[in-house]
């Protein structure tokens, strides 16, 4: 027994040595390639991060430091108070609240309505679903501007100008064909036996959606939530045309007002501080939920 094992292992060793001799050359070549790749990727990564570093650095300087030459990446005197100052020039706290209200309500509406619709397209058999799904896909290609003016006039007629409703209400009506598409693709991958089993157990259709599909679809729901968050948080066009009074402004509008009120481009340190604060929630969400974010992009992009 023992000797047999030894023979086998010595044979294996011999083979392994042979293999190693080939693979050594190969590995050397591969590590040379890897080194070259790093040598390209590192400088490019620096280039990609530089704008954000520049932003942070500027936001911590005083007015004269901003225009110093040569520039200082880390200022002698770090002025954290720039952030407080920038936030107090305009009621940014209020803008933050407004943006949050719009973003989270719209996000809730989008997740609810899009998942219901995607469920219908992915799991139910009904006449017209194929044609309607093609329409969903085509609306993804429709430039928003085509519907912009009549929609504006509609909301004006309803007396919704200068309220948050134009940003929120469409979200509850399946606004966001991209999310419907994303969710439908994911729902389709779940086995249909689940539905049948649940139905036999006396579950109705809504129960299947709510208790079977939604819990299993957590990854895609998280990805969709992040996309929705990002697009509403950064939205500028709709707040620009629908909101007028300052106390209803979103962060985007606030930044725009800050930019145009306080002399275009002199208070760069304050402007950069304010911009960073506005970006921060998106950056945070990105780092926390990065995995789902990337999965979501990949899923939608390739299966499309």
């Amino acid at each position: 027994m023992v000797s047999q094992e030894q023979t086998i292992s010595s044979q294996q060793t011999a083979a392994a040595v042979g293999r190693r001799r080939i693979s050594l050359r190969r590995r050397l070549r591969e590590s040379g390639l890897a080194l070259m790749i790093h040598l390209i990727l590192i400088p490019m990564a620096v280039l990609f991060l530089l704008p954000l570093a520049w932003m942070l650095s500027t936001s911590l300087k005083d007015a004269s430091g901003v225009f110093a030459f040569p520039p200082q990446w880390i200022p002698d005197l770090i002025r954290w108070e720039n952030y407080g100052l920038a936030m107090s020039v305009l009621p940014f706290g209020r803008f933050f609240m407004n943006t949050s209200i719009i973003t989270f309500t719209a996000m809730f509406g989008q997740l609810l309505s899009c998942s219901l619709v995607a469920f219908a397209f992915a799991r139910l058999r009904w006449s017209g679903r194929h044609v309607l799904f093609i329409i969903v896909l085509s609306t993804m290609m429709l430039p928003n501007q085509v519907t912009l003016i009549p929609t504006f006039l509609l909301f004006r007629q309803l007396g919704w100008l200068d309220t948050f409703l134009p940003m929120i209400v469409p979200a509850f009506f399946g606004g966001g064909p991209f999310l419907i598409f994303l969710m439908r693709q994911f729902f389709m991958t779940l086995p249909t036996e689940l539905d049948d089993a649940a139905r036999i157990d006396g579950c109705n259709t809504f129960g299947i959606y709510w208790r079977i599909i939604l819990p299993l679809a957590k990854p895609v729901m998280i990805a969709a939530a992040i996309f929705s968050f990002e697009s509403h948080w950064n939205d500028f066009f709709r707040p620009l045309i629908y909101l007028q009074s300052r106390e209803k402004f979103t962060l985007s509008l606030g930044l725009h007002a800050f930019n145009s009120d306080y002399g275009r481009g002199t208070d760069w340190h304050l402007l950069m501080a304010a911009s960073l604060v506005v970006m921060l929630p998106v950056i945070l969400v990105f780092f926390i939920a990065q995995r789902y974010f990337i999965q979501g992009v990949v899923f939608s992009g390739v299966k499309g």
Binding site: S113, V117, A120, T139, M141, V302
Partner: protein, 313 residues
């Protein structure tokens, strides 16, 4: 013909029969009703209205007036509209291919088996999730002639940089350069495409003595063309609708060098209150997007490679 093709593609089934089926049919419509309502109220209705408005003059204050083809005549003589369309087209034609090339190169590099892939992926992808006014302001500062990051960098190389956003010859190029910062979005998609290519193909090619360049052009690139096709269309649609950059950074200037089409449309609607004319402009954009998309679709059979098709041939 069409219904045949649709059925083969799985787009048309037989109509469900029986009581249970009827019930499921009803439930399908019910679950889809949020979108159906939304489509009728916020898409189809406005599309019809916008088509009708194209024949009207309306400043919002006084009632709309039917003016026949006057808006079309105005469009025919509107040099600004044509100029805006040209500027937007140049932006799309230059920035979309650049983004594709850069995105593919990054994806190829990140597809290699090297350490730190996650970190690289995060760094390259981060800018793509940032957008809107804050990003536009950041880049306005980077492009500042005397104190901007870009010209500082160039000065270290002994180059005196231009006034990126103040020189009509450079402003559009500055915005194109800026668009490359967001390339991570498509990079991730190419990366997924690359990972879907079976490794046996590369192994077989290597045995046949194909070098890395031949492997790229004979295996990687053809198998990536469906993804490139998809990204090309998305890129065209997106870049023709650029607005925030021009609105915040250049206000269409200098000398209309960055008068993007949607900015011009916005001005007509909400600055000059020409709602009818702006509606016509929107339709022109729609038709333009549609034409370009169709053109790309038509070209697809010359360069997009589908494995399933090749097999059935």
């Amino acid at each position: 013909m069409i219904s045949d093709a649709l059925r083969r593609a799985g787009f048309m089934g037989t109509r469900p029969r029986g009581r249970l089926a009827r019930r499921e049919n009803l439930e399908g419509w019910l679950f889809a009703s949020p979108w159906i309502l939304g489509f009728l109220i916020f898409t189809l209705g406005p599309m019809v209205a916008s088509a009708a408005l194209s024949f009207a003059q309306w400043d919002i204050v006084t009632p709309p007036k039917w003016i026949g083809f006057d808006n079309f005549e105005r469009l025919g003589t509107d040099a600004s509209a044509l100029h805006a369309l040209k500027v937007t087209t140049v932006y799309a034609v230059v920035s979309v291919p650049l983004q594709i090339v850069l995105g593919v190169i990054l994806a190829l590099l990140l597809n290699a088996k090297i350490s730190g892939l996650r970190i690289y992926r995060t760094i390259y992808y981060l800018p793509a999730v940032l957008s809107g006014v804050a990003v536009a302001l950041l880049w306005r500062w980077i492009f500042s002639k005397e104190f901007g990051l870009l010209n500082l960098g160039l000065s270290f190389l002994g180059i005196e940089g231009p006034g990126w956003l103040t020189d009509p010859d450079w402003a559009l190029w500055a915005l194109i350069l800026m668009s490359l910062w967001g390339v991570g979005d498509s990079m991730v998609i190419y990366l997924a495409g690359l990972q879907g290519i079976p490794t046996e193909l590369y192994e077989a090619a290597e045995v046949d003595g194909a070098n890395i360049i031949r492997r790229f052009f004979n295996i990687t690139l053809p198998l990536l063309t469906p993804v490139l096709f998809f990204q090309l269309i998305i890129g065209i649609i997106r870049s023709l609708q650029v607005f925030v950059q021009a609105f915040i950074m250049t206000d269409g200037g200098p000398a209309d060098a960055t008068l993007f089409y949607v900015l011009y449309l916005y001005r007509n609607a909400f600055l000059y209150f020409r709602m009818g004319y702006a509606s016509l402009l929107a339709w022109v954009l729609f038709v333009y997007v549609l034409l370009l998309t169709l053109l790309v679709f038509r070209s697809a059979r010359f360069w997009v490679y589908y494995e399933s098709e090749a097999r059935s041939r």
